[in-house]
Symmetry: C2
Subunit: 224 residues, 2 copies
Amino acid sequence: MTQTLLSNRERGTFKVLKAWRNEPFPVYGPGRTLLLSIERAGSGLFGITTHGVHMNAYIVEGGKIKYWVAQRAAHKKYYPGMLDNTVGGGLTTGEDPLKGVVREAVEEAAFPEAVVLENANPAGVITYLGIPETGLLKPDCIFVYDLLLPSDIIPTPGDQEVENFKLLDIDQMQTALAAGKFKPNCALVIIDFFIRHGILTAENEKDYIEISARLHRNPEFPTA
Amino acid sequence: MTQTLLSNRERGTFKVLKAWRNEPFPVYGPGRTLLLSIERAGSGLFGITTHGVHMNAYIVEGGKIKYWVAQRAAHKKYYPGMLDNTVGGGLTTGEDPLKGVVREAVEEAAFPEAVVLENANPAGVITYLGIPETGLLKPDCIFVYDLLLPSDIIPTPGDQEVENFKLLDIDQMQTALAAGKFKPNCALVIIDFFIRHGILTAENEKDYIEISARLHRNPEFPTA
């Protein structure tokens, strides 16, 4: 499989293969059986379900939530410069979600590992069918974590993935969401965060029930 | 409509009409339009979607969650004596979820209204197709609230609906769930609570993704 993808990469058959990552993504069959691994860049060609971990790091000041938003680096191939969750990334073969989110939190946001292990709370999983910039339909599962930060800890770019982190209040988040400044699947993670924290409610959002259901689509294809 | 139900009640055509409640339930059409109201006892005969509000009241002791479980009164028509969420009830026509949960919290658990208004957090909505004891398929939406209680507030039975309240730790909750002691739809609310609070995780539950999706079914029939 990898050999076939590599030769297609050389021939330039598929544009997505130019973004070769050297990250093996798992391909599951019925009953969550791991069938094989596939290079991340090629996974979209086969419509397989991908799995990621995203984390919402926030503080509470005067009873109000403020959220640490990441801005994606300008050189990124997909969604350069757009806003993102505090931490996010894909799960490679054999990596469990908690290990994945700790790794990403240390790499991308330079959070101390102990702070993440102590404070990160698994808060659910969102499931949806996305159409990312590649144009290839992408069934996706994102394991979601909340990280209520101790006051002395702030994120700082730990690798080349993030341009900067900004602490936004809820009004600023909503304005940025409405203006389409967030990478689309990161916006889903934030909407789920807003629902769980009582910011988006049945009283202030007429499509509340439908939004909740669509954030948790019953996957049509095998998942982890 | 009410007249037809009442005459059928007198004739004893349908057993469910014996549990007449004098509570008007809303019937919605496409686009969340309120079409009409129907007596709660008769709603199940038509398969309409019902809407409820349930609240998880809990405390945190030494970093561990303890949950205030209600035991349903022995004289209740459905699920007598079974375990229940701290507060729960149906939404009648024109009642919004927050008002409904405050009303139920005061009536059933004798919580001071101000404590509920101050501390109840809207935490999402679960959607599912239930088959309750009536045997009639019941599409249901439950608006879920979490109430982290101040240490000096405990629930006490406020009406005839609840036998008693018991403070259970997570192990005791899981044992009671596994033994089938909870009213089934209240068990769903607790599983959702366990997911949001990081008790049920991708690492300790192999069906995590499927459970999450099934707690948020895309409603087939019109809802609020």
